[in-house]
């Protein structure tokens, strides 16, 4: 049964994408570590960690696509799950600093020392253990999504209302994490990490492994997401998106379906956050900013929602563009980004991948129809292609 589940995930284009991602996971670190710096194909560490960051964003966009593209829940608060995953990882990394902090206090992170904290708050317990921290990376965003979704979906809050309260959620979390009394380092956040599972976070090998891990997790999550949306459950999911009431009348528990998807998506976002933090070296409340979550929506829309691959491409393209513009034409960046949003919504409502796909299937349908007219094709092909 499980194999059938996985097998269903292996649609053609998903396989190709996964293969490409896996190739990246091997080739990029290999090129970074093995080739000489002046070699034409050498990828500098800087570019590799940049690409690692894009992959984390891609995973975040994928998570959003699962709820938005397939379940119709436009979450304007996915940045919160991302940030929570990041904080869980950040707390682990902070505890790994041990007595190498500037005050040399083995028990307390630096920011607690200089704000006169006497002992570690209870919610920091256990974060010195890697497995526990990794569990929290999944558990904390998942729990928040569960509690939030349990209330919201049961009360049938949907559409715009849901979007706005997810935004309120991430905004409230941002304000809360900005408070120094919360014990998460206030606006400075958590930073100056030293090592992860015994390896220096700045070592070239560690960076390569982190990059490979990001790519692997992206591929894995893509497979899981693909398996979900291509299962029977996935069909119901799309039903919920397109006609929620009808699905409910057919006897499905819509709120449970939504809740499951929302929690899985939040966990994906948490994983993305956890991989993001060691690569960029800081997590702070700015990640909760509502604007960040909206940007994720934009990546997804640009790439094409409801396509799984689209958001990945959208996230990579927009962020590569951002890196380029903020370096080359700093003043023009917001114009370019703003223009992109408008252009995509007006001219590419299905996003890049969606448009290519529909063009592709459209041509296929036309060809099939032409074939049918000639009396050579079969009718089912037309129906399938037009679907």
């Amino acid at each position: 049964m499980i194999s059938a589940f996985i097998f269903r995930a292996l649609k053609g284009h998903i396989v190709v994408t996964v293969a490409v991602i896996l190739a990246f996971a091997v080739l990029v670190p290999a090129s970074n570590l093995l080739l000489a710096p002046d070699h034409a194909l050498h990828i500098p560490t800087y570019v590799m960690s940049l690409m690692g960051k894009y992959l984390c964003y891609a995973l975040l966009a994928l998570a959003l696509d699962l709820v938005w593209g397939y379940c119709g829940i436009l979450s304007l608060g996915h940045g919160a799950f991302f940030a929570l995953g990041g904080y869980a990882m950040g707390m682990y990394l902070m505890r790994q600093i041990g007595s190498r902090g500037v005050y040399g206090n083995a028990d307390l992170p630096d920011f607690m020392v200089f704000l006169n904290w006497k002992e570690l708050p209870w919610f920091w317990y256990g974060f010195d253990m890697f497995p526990f921290a990794m569990l929290m990376v999944l558990f904390v965003p998942g729990l928040l999504a569960f509690v939030f979704g349990w209330f919201a979906f049961r009360s049938r809050v949907n559409g715009v209302y849901l979007s706005i309260i997810t935004q309120a959620m991430t905004y409230a979390l941002m304000l809360a994490f900005f408070r120094n009394d919360m014990g998460f380092g206030g606006n400075n956040g958590l930073t100056d990490y030293k090592e992860i599972v015994g390896f220096s976070v700045q070592g070239g090998g560690t960076r390569a492994v982190l990059f490979a891990m990001s790519a692997l997790m992206l591929a894995l999550c893509l497979l899981i997401a693909s398996a979900i949306v291509n299962s029977k459950f996935g069909k119901v999911l799309v039903g919920v998106r397109d006609a929620e009431s009808r699905v409910r009348f057919l006897g499905f528990r819509v709120e449970n379906i939504k809740l499951f998807t929302f929690v899985v998506s939040a966990m994906f976002a948490g994983i993305a956050g956890a991989l993001f933090v060691p690569q960029v070296g800081i997590i702070n409340p700015g990640e909760f900013a509502p604007a960040n979550s909206i940007e994720v929506v934009v990546w997804t829309a640009v790439g094409g929602r409801g396509t799984l691959i689209g958001p990945i491409i959208g996230a990579v393209l927009v962020n590569a563009g951002k890196s380029y513009f903020t370096g080359a034409f700093p003043e023009l960046w917001l114009f370019a980004l703003g223009g992109l949003f408008i252009a995509v919504t007006l001219f590419l409502p299905k996003g890049i991948v969606g448009t290519i796909q529909s063009g592709f299937t459209g041509r296929k349908a036309m060809r099939a129809a032409a074939d049918a007219e000639k009396g050579r094709g079969d009718v089912t092909a037309v129906a399938q292609a037009a679907e």
Binding site: V160, I165, A168, L175, R179, G339, F341, I342
Partner: protein, 535 residues
């Protein structure tokens, strides 16, 4: 300005009076200011005041304003006022002009807060006997605010001559506060405590508290009783004050949200560029004020009145362009309007940043928007007061427009059933366009008001956008009354949470409460009924 004018008249009258002729000449005292440090200057001001020569009042006023200079060549001290590129020197005692000099030829005499206090007290003493009622009143006020035993004789002398009831009462209070720090008899002081106790308010509390450590033990019970009485009264007023703060915050939220109640609430566009419309309104105010400052400074008090239509037209026009250029292609796809308008908001922000620069721009308060007035034991600031009035009148105006005008009828018809409206001959595209323009225009005039209390910077809109959405969603989309009730109740809730949990936690709690509330009532406080909204 007015006070200076009055004192000038007074000066002319006073210099005619022969009784001042014998007083020691304050002129050398003024000239010593050139070399004095802050402490010495403070003493000199006291000495100038004790000459009792009221001719020095304008010069002391000039000193308080930082307009007192000494000539570099001979260290003679003058008051000065700008005359073109030069300064016109005015003799500090006689008030006669001493010719014009270049700015470089004189040095400003520096002043700090202690000196300002000393000057204020000196001026209070000197103008107590002024023939002008307003001057006497402000003199009594000055003594009330900086009580000293030295002022006591002056106050009593003035009190003996005073005929005006209001001024007399104020002087009685001034006498009481000065008496407390003097060495008068216990009984006098007991009476003084009673007078101050009746005065009430924060200042009285401050005065009583200040003497509580030094006062004679036998007076302690009186003093404590007076303090407790004021505190009890003040507690009641604090409640009222809190309600007022809540209303005032609520009216700001209402202002920020009311345009959105149209574009989002009525039209269903998730208008992320709403905040930028508010910002454009604020920048329109800035531009109007710039033009007025350069061309007709006399009209400055009218600047906001002029800015209102300007802002409405500017933002309305921008709104019209946005609707025709982008949004009309997106009807029926509300979540995509979110993306497009977010893009528009980024472009507008960056355009303003490119044109005006990223820094704050100065938008001045006209005189009728500055200062405050007391209501019982609380203070109400004029700008907050006008903003409450202004936002309520916008609300009423909008309500009338929606419910009583032909345009409002068409607007409602189109949003309720587009096809039916269209078949009745309504040009739905233009109704859409003008509805959006109306919403944007109202956001613009909200920006005029908000420019009075907040930063005018490219980030202005960002700070209001989330709050605005919360208000509209909390109140119920598509219902103006909901927006009103939502804004005011969130404002008051916020202000009642703030004193107990602090501003930061208060804001978080309000957000959490909104999230919980939406679970209970998924369509807000005033939900529209019917099936149309299910779409």
């Amino acid at each position: 300005m007015l006070i200076r004018f009055i004192t000038l008249i007074f000066l002319i009258l006073a210099s005619a009076a022969p009784s001042f002729a014998q007083a020691p000449d304050p002129k050398p005292l003024f000239n010593q200011l050139a070399d004095a440090d802050f402490n010495a200057a403070e003493k000199l001001v006291g000495q100038i005041a004790t000459t009792g020569d009221t001719r020095v009042v304008p010069a002391l006023n000039a000193f308080a304003e930082g307009d007192l200079y000494f000539r570099k060549s001979d260290k003679a001290v003058f008051a000065a006022k700008p005359a073109g590129a030069q300064l016109e020197l005015i003799d500090p005692v006689t008030g006669e002009s001493a010719g014009q000099v270049a700015k470089g030829a004189v040095t400003k005499i520096r002043i700090n807060n202690n000196l300002r206090r000393a000057i204020r007290a000196a001026l209070g003493g000197l103008t107590l006997m002024s023939p002008d009622r307003g001057t006497r009143l402000s003199a009594a006020d000055a003594i009330l605010r900086s009580p000293s035993a030295e002022a006591l004789d002056l106050v009593e002398a003035a009190l003996a001559k005073e005929t005006d009831a209001t001024v007399k009462a104020r002087m009685e209070e001034a006498r009481a506060v000065s008496l407390l720090s003097s060495d008068r008899s216990i009984d006098d002081k007991r009476a003084a405590i009673a007078t101050i106790g009746k005065l009430g308010g924060r200042d009285a509390l401050g005065i009583l508290n200040a003497v509580s450590s030094s006062i004679d033990a036998s007076l302690k019970p009186d003093l404590d009783a007076a303090i407790t009485a004021i505190q009890n009264e003040q507690q009641l007023w604090d409640m009222a004050q809190n309600v007022w703060y809540g209303l005032s915050l609520g009216s700001v939220l209402l202002l920020a949200a009311i345009g959105l109640a149209i574009t989002f609430g009525v039209m269903g566009i998730i208008n992320m560029a709403h905040g930028e419309m508010v910002m454009l309104g604020a920048y329109s105010t800035f531009v109007v004020q710039q033009v007025i400052r350069e061309n007709a400074p006399g009209l400055f008090d009218w600047s906001l009145t002029i800015a209102l239509p300007v802002a409405f037209l500017v933002t309305g026009a921008v709104g019209l362009v946005i609707e025709r250029g982008v949004i009309r292609f997106l009807y029926g796809r509300p979540l995509e309007t979110l993306l497009a308008t977010w893009g528009i908001s980024l472009i507008l922000q960056q355009s303003i940043r490119t044109i005006f620069g990223p820094t704050n721009q100065e938008v001045g308060n006209p005189s009728w928007m500055s200062g405050s007035f007391p209501v019982g034991g609380m203070t109400i600031t004029w700008n907050r007061m006008w903003i409450v009035v202004f936002s309520l009148s916008i609300f009423v105006g909008l309500l009338l427009l929606m419910k009583r005008s032909a345009f409002g009828l068409q607007m409602r018809a189109v949003t309720q059933n587009r096809r039916m409206a269209s078949s009745m001959g309504i040009k739905t595209p233009w109704v859409d366009a003008f509805t959006f323009a109306l919403g944007s225009g109202i956001a613009g005039i909200a920006g005029v008001a908000l420019s009075q209390i907040d930063n005018v910077s490219p980030n202005l809109g960002q700070s209001y956008i989330i709050d605005s959405f919360m208000v509209v969603v909390f109140g119920g989309v598509g219902n103006l009354w909901g927006t009103l009730v939502g804004a005011l109740s969130l404002g008051i809730l916020n202000k009642f949470l703030e004193p107990s949990v602090g501003a930061v936690l208060g804001k978080i709690l309000v957000l959490v409460l909104i999230i919980l509330f939406i679970q209970k009532r998924p369509r807000g406080l005033f939900a529209l009924k019917g099936r149309a909204i299910e779409a």
